[in-house]
């Protein structure tokens, strides 16, 4: 006796959260059944393995049918085929678009292209996440990217509107899309200590301050070559950043800056002497990062540079985080007292964001 056909269709579509998770995690029906058996469900319910098999198959089939709709979540809300309570719909969507930290760290900043997709095998092996799940997560990133790529307006809002994600998840996706678009390098060894959260935090600050959308400069001419407001860094801004060069190139200015900072921090910093000794190097590092941002290559290496030029030197001198904060605050503020420096607004736009990022990146 073999079961040829075995289905269960409810007027309200039954969603088993546990099975959904197994499905999302990319387990085959057989593996999922084995995992469920291990969870002790048979003992709890008195069911047989055959029942579990049939139940799992059924749920998998439902999820498979729902997957098409999950690719465009608003469709899930308006479709008539599956009657699902709103709270369940939200759960389905949220879980479907959720991703693994380990996975996102692997692809963050990479081009979401076929080439990367081919690397998923390796990522799967490396992270222990099933290939199927990797594919789903990758495809989600890519899908969201494709949809919001050409859109104007707030990145987070666009994502929320088109994918009906929670605020938290939409922000994460905004970061992913932003990183993918600007191709920030995140995979280098020295960046391994950083979490997705660190990058997402930086991405949010950068989106808020460094993009076109940030300054509210709606392009006057809609046909102009204006890029997407929230996804691309403000080209003009990057160009202007060259003007900051003077802060390190002009020796007098640099000395004056240093003395201002040192005066202000004397006695307040545990690592004062180290700071004093390193000031010029650190300042050069931070300003040079700014001036190089006109080159795409250097934009990509932004985080590598920040870590190399600032985080690592400070860390090797054992600066406590509070000292870093004191220093950065003073370092940015003191520039206002430099009479010969005319680009105060530019400096604030740059340093305000950078300070936030650096503080977040500064940890073990």
């Amino acid at each position: 006796m073999t079961s040829e056909l075995d289905i269960f269709v409810g007027n309200t579509t039954l969603i088993d959260e546990d099975v959904y998770r197994l499905w999302l995690d990319g387990y085959s029906v057989t593996d999922a059944v084995a995992l469920r058996v291990r969870s002790g469900i048979l003992e709890q319910t008195g069911a047989t393995a055959a029942v579990l098999q049939s139940d799992t198959m059924d749920h998998y089939r439902t999820f498979h049918m729902l997957e098409r709709l999950l690719h465009a979540p608003p469709k899930l809300l308006h479709q008539l085929i599956f009657q699902i309570p709103p709270s369940r719909q939200a759960l389905l969507i949220e879980r479907y678009y959720a991703f693994d930290e380990a996975f996102v760290r692997e692809v963050l900043g990479k081009k979401l292209s076929k080439g990367t997709k081919k690397d998923l095998d390796d990522i799967s092996t490396k992270t222990g996440i099933t290939l199927k799940s990797c594919r789903r997560q990758f495809d989600n990133f890519k899908r969201v990217f494709k949809v919001v790529e050409e859109m104007r307006g707030s990145l987070v809002d666009n994502i929320q509107q088109h994918f009906l994600l929670s605020d938290r998840l939409a922000r994460d996706y905004a970061a992913i899309v932003f990183f993918a678009n600007n191709r920030f390098e995140t995979g280098k060894k020295k960046l391994q200590y950083l979490s997705f959260g660190d990058f997402a935090f930086c991405a949010e600050l950068m989106i808020q301050n460094w993009t076109l959308g940030a300054v509210g400069e709606a392009p006057t001419d809609p046909d102009s070559q204006m890029d997407d407001m929230d996804m691309d860094l403000d080209k003009e801004f990057l160009q202007d950043l060259k003007e900051l060069k003077v802060l390190v190139a002009d020796k007098d200015l640099l000395d004056l800056h240093k003395s201002l900072v040192c005066t202000a921090l004397r006695g307040k910093l545990g690592v004062f002497s180290e700071m004093e000794a390193n000031f010029k190097n650190l300042s050069r590092g931070l300003v040079n990062v700014a001036t190089k941002l006109t080159h795409n290559k250097d934009v990509r290496d932004l985080f590598v540079d920040l870590v190399e030029k600032f985080v690592e030197p400070c860390r090797s001198d054992h600066w406590p985080l509070s000292d870093v904060r004191f220093f950065l605050n003073q370092y940015s503020a003191s520039v206002h007292s430099l009479d010969g420096f005319r680009h105060q607004a530019l400096w604030d736009r740059y340093m305000g964001t950078l300070r936030g990022c650096l503080l977040r990146l500064y940890h073990d």
Binding site: M1, T2, S3, E4, L5, D6, I7, F8, V9, G10, N11, T12, T13, L14, T45, G46, A47, T48, A50, V51, L52, S54, D55, M57, D58, R61, T62, H64, M65, K75, L77, H78, Q79, L80, I81, F82, Q83, P85, P86
Partner: protein
Amino acid sequence: MPGKLKVKIVAGRHLPVMDRASDLTDAFVEVKFGNTTFKTDVYLKSLNPQWNSEWFKFEVDDEDLQDEPLQITVLDHDTYSANDAIGKVYIDIDPLLYSEAATVISGWFPIYDTIHGIRGEINVVVKVDLFNDLNRFRQSSCGVKFFCTTSIPKCYRAVIIHGFVEELVVNEDPEYQWIDRIRTPRASNEARQRLISLMSGELQRKIGLKVLEMRGNAVVGYLQCFDLEGESGLVVRAIGTACTLDKLSSPAAFLPACNSPSKEMKEIPFNEDPNPNTHSSGPSTPLKNQTYSFSPSKSYSRQSSSSDTDLSLTPKTGMGSGSAGKEGGPFKALLRQQTQSALEQREFPFFTLTAFPPGFLVHVGGVVSARSVKLLDRIHNPDEPETRDAWWAEIRQEIKSHAKALGCHAVVGYSESTSICEEVCILSASGTAAVLNPRFLQDGTVEGCLEQRLEENLPTRCGFCHIPYDELNMPFPAHLTYCYNCRKQKVPDVLFTTIDLPTDATVIGKGCLIQARLCRLKKKAQAEANATAISNLLPFMEYEVHTQLMNKLKLKGMNALFGLRIQITVGENMLMGLASATGVYLAALPTPGGIQIAGKTPNDGSYEQHISHMQKKINDTIAKNKELYEINPPEISEEIIGSPIPEPRQRSRLLRSQSESSDEVTELDLSHGKKDAFVLEIDDTDAMEDVHSLLTDVPPPSGFYSCNTEIMPGINNWTSEIQMFTSVRVIRLSSLNLTNQALNKNFNDLCENLLKSLYFKLRSMIPCCLCHVNFTVSLPEDELIQVTVTAVAITFDKNQALQTTKTPVEKSLQRASTDNEELLQFPLELCSDSLPSHPFPPAKEHLESASSNSGIPAAQRAVTVEKASPVGDGNFRNRSAPPCANSTVGVVKMTPLSFIPGAKITKYLGIINMFFIRETTSLREEGGVSGFLHAFIAEVFAMVRAHVAALGGNAVVSYIMKQCVFMENPNKNQAQCLINVSGDAVVFVRESDLEVVSSQQPTINCQSSCTEGEVTT
């Protein structure tokens, strides 16, 4: 009444991409009714077209309005080649043809294609203007309401229950026409869908005409079925119960503004007879007290038939002659006369209802059924479907005579079904023989009934259990005792019925689903030989199914079956029997005795040991079941004469029918002759199997109950969470093990596993009950068995469930209050009912009796109540507005039950009767057979919901999947499935919402009572 049909096509959404180049679609819509077609403009390059068309107007006869479906086709415009069809929507406009239902159909409908399934949605608005034209010879029956519900619909009152209506129409099946060889599968499927839609419309119209002839205005318990006879054609047949219904005027009832003249016109059929009193009132000239011959030697000419007079299988011990039994005698005779006269004119005194107004059902005799095997021949003249008519007439005649043999004049809970395999067809009919209270059947005045009723003073609570036949001249040997409730009348020791448990019946403990399952191999044969082989097998199957049912019932420690449905399915090389019923312990019936096992060779020591081991197992099971189902009947003193409480040692024998001669086969005696009591004699391996199979049925896991009736006896605190589902399983038998035993085991496992799966899937709903569990078996191919189950899981409140051991009065009180519906209905029903028998709030009873005494006829009072509660009405109207028109899709509940727990049905919008075909030529790509059918059933649900929502409803009640015919050809990567569903579209309001309103007014009941009070004083 010709009419004008108006259709507007608003918009489409989620259309499929039809032009690969642009990834868009140039869609337009064809709207067709009858032979007229309109088209919208082409909406270029969009997947969400906004047509916003003008109103397309069709001027049509109402005959066409009833028969024809509105057909909407969405196409993709193609400049160079033929336009591609995207899909279709068929809309049945019948609900717009009677005033109390929907006034407009408006909403998003799934666009359906028989090959691709649902492809986007279309927003359509449909209206009908009917013109009054009284003088014409009626061909139409606009205005007759149809209900699938097999009880009086919740917001109506039955004035008269007229009786049985039936009709059938036949046609050639387009799938088998010559043209099918050259047309595409899509064209063929669509031709079939359209034809069936047309035929159902025609059938409904014809039934409606019959109802009008009977002076009724509604059909309740309408059951329409298709027989796909293959080469020989397509039969669409329907049965139902004609009634005259009155809209109840409870404050919550949704009353359309029926004062507007146009509405009034539509209502003509209801008001046609303003003065029903002119017809014969009360019992007409008493006929001579007829003497019935209950001789069991009825001679049937039919090939196969059996009277399942289920009071059988019982021991016949010495009966104490009770003088008390005679007390009921004269009354019974009187009743018989009245009923007789009421039913006299009727060809078939059948009722498709399974639940009745209080007092309607007087006595129940038992299950009557008839089957007949027929060879299908081509239907030559579709306009004269005489043969099919004759076949059914024959069967019905037989049912009638069975009922008569049981001393009953009527058959209730009546249903008909067929099973077809190639050219052989088994026609089956079954029902419950009953004696009915004549007052519902006559056009008598209400006052007349009132007097009559006062005389009667029926002990309703146990009355239906009392035997309707003469105990001295019983139609079969049965063991009678005095009723355990009233101690006056005689009752049988077991009762089988096809109806729902009467609401006023006293039940001890809870009920449970009981199934008998059986397979019989049969040689492949052709034509006559095949039919003969089948008819020879049938009686044996009936017998076995019965034995199984009886054994399982005893094993559960119960004494009555309700909702019994025996399905016999014919296949190429086997017959399958599946009987489902809900077992209960009726307090009025005696405690069932246990089951004793007797070995055949008592000398063998080890064998004896084995037997005693089995016996112990059985006894343990019975004890366990009694505990599980909370069956602890009060101790009955032994003094009652004829008490059937079995002495522990009292053994009697039941023999398997091994010595039946061929003559006896035609008149199958299921009573096991004069043998005494319940002994299973293990005389061969077969019997061993049976005993084993008895014990293999696993009870549902704790927290789960199941039944196949509307509600579970013993549970009355339902919460509002419901989940309707359909589950389908097909197993392939390996041809090697085709023995009867192996087959039985396979089939048993299939059903048991299916139930286990359901329990597991629905575990999150515990504590819950599977209600209206409906199994259907089909044998699509040689080695395939398909089982389809539709049921609804309802959660209940466990805490309250614990306190159910109460007096019956309290119990029914609680019941009534949980079902607000009934409560509201009662003020009106009580007035035509025997008061003392009704356990209702004293305050209300008082009011009622006060008003009855005042002599105001019930009908008049009903009207006054209706008018006197405009405030409540207004309040509720807001509530019962169609569900939210928000962006999200409104929830539509579906349930096979006639009610929605925790809610009140305020309006019936019309019946939903839909037929779909789905076919695929890429089975693997669609996820194999399971993926294909899963998607299709989900789509069918979606289309039902969409239609209900478009009618302004938020639920389907009495939903039933009448057919699910699945055929596959994996080698060709093809599959096809036909599904037929029906139900009643309704608007319901949550009781919690009602309370909000009623908190403004003291209570609903109080409100109506108060107004009533004003009128009477």
